[in-house]
Amino acid sequence: MSFAPYAAAAWLFVVGLYGVIASSNLVRTVLSLTVVQSATYLVLLGVGYRHGGKAPIVADIPKSSRLVDPVTQVLVLTDVVIEATVLALLLALIVQAQKRFGSIDPARLRALRD
């Protein structure tokens, strides 16, 4: 039971990768990448959790209470926002590919280049 978050993360990673590989539309590839990303968030937050720990906001809780690890939360926090813009960059590349080659099917794009 204590392995559940990591098992879920491994499953999400592989399922997301399947979505990336089995897609015939580049936009589907990009959207399945978010599932792969969320697997990493799960691993990071799972590592930082402590049993009975509270959120790391010390405004109104007693000084000696248990807190969860804040460092992994920092990593996930900035990552969530930055990846949205990186995906925007990927989508801009896809729009370019559609304009130049007329197709966003990965198999057909290969053929068009030859």
């Binding site: 204590s2 098992a7 405004a59 804040p70 900035t78």
Partner: protein, 253 residues
């Protein structure tokens, strides 16, 4: 490689990857049994040292501010990439921007209900964004969340169907300026640390009492700088993509 070839390869590689991941993740401490030293140390000493009650924001903008500098420049770089790619596309297609009065342009299907809702939403979103940016050091919040909420404010104008009005409120030069000002402000505050304290991005402002708005030294300033940058970045990305759709090559409206 054809799709069938890819799927055949994945049929072998997928379960193998799953097995490797599960075996590898077994090496981690079991869920709930965290005993890393750095995290526990920060939990204990940070409120006394930095007078900030939100430890995650304190890590983001003060203790590990250098990492945030790198991350916000990743954001800057990818927004620059989006702008470059899509503007090049627009120039290649030719300039089809027709002058049209602001009141003429409306999306089909933008009903009155949407317009009233967006009128209600805009001040709420802007107020929430400013609150999150200022109270980053005190409650859950901070620059990144505040930036997107602030960017969603003008986006509600788009919801009301008035895209050209959005372009008047947030013209492109203003968004680029916002993005650049946010990024440079963060780097410049770091220089203040170099000049007045002993290291780059070292906290050099008075720390104040924890729980008040003007506390925790340079954390609110950093938070506001990052918030400005994220707002400019997201609005720039959205209007670049929407410009492609709405202004270039739309004949019937």
């Amino acid at each position: 490689m054809t799709r069938r070839g890819r799927l055949a390869l994945f049929a072998v590689a997928g379960p193998g990857l799953l097995a490797v991941l599960v075996v590898g993740l077994h090496g981690l401490p079991s869920f709930g049994d965290f005993h890393g030293v750095y995290g526990l140390l920060v939990d204990r000493i940070e409120p006394g040292q930095r007078h900030a009650t939100d430890i995650v924001t304190a890590l983001n903008f003060d203790l590990r501010a250098f990492d945030t500098l790198g991350e916000e420049f990743i954001l800057f770089a990818s927004v620059t990439g989006v702008a470059l790619l899509l503007r090049h596309l627009r120039h290649a297609e030719g300039d089809l921007e027709r002058s049209r009065s602001v009141a003429d342009h409306r999306f089909a299907g933008a009903s009155d209900a949407l317009r009233v809702m967006s009128l209600v939403l805009i001040p709420l979103l802007v107020a929430l964004g400013v609150y999150l940016a200022l109270h980053g050091a005190l409650t859950p919040g901070g620059g990144f969340q505040a930036g997107i909420v602030l960017a969603a404010g003008p986006l509600a104008i788009l919801l009301a169907g008035r895209y050209l009005a959005l372009k008047r409120v947030a013209p492109q030069w203003a968004l680029e300026a916002l993005d650049a000002v946010g990024a440079t402000a963060y780097a410049a505050i770091g220089l203040g640390g170099l000049i007045f304290a002993s290291a780059y991005l070292e906290n050099f402002l008075p720390l104040g009492t924890p729980g008040e708005l003007l506390s925790a030294g340079m954390m609110p300033l950093n938070s506001i700088a990052v918030g400005l940058e994220v707002t400019g970045a997201f609005l720039l990305t959205w209007t670049e993509f929407l410009d492609q759709d709405v202004i270039v090559g739309r004949d019937e409206l």
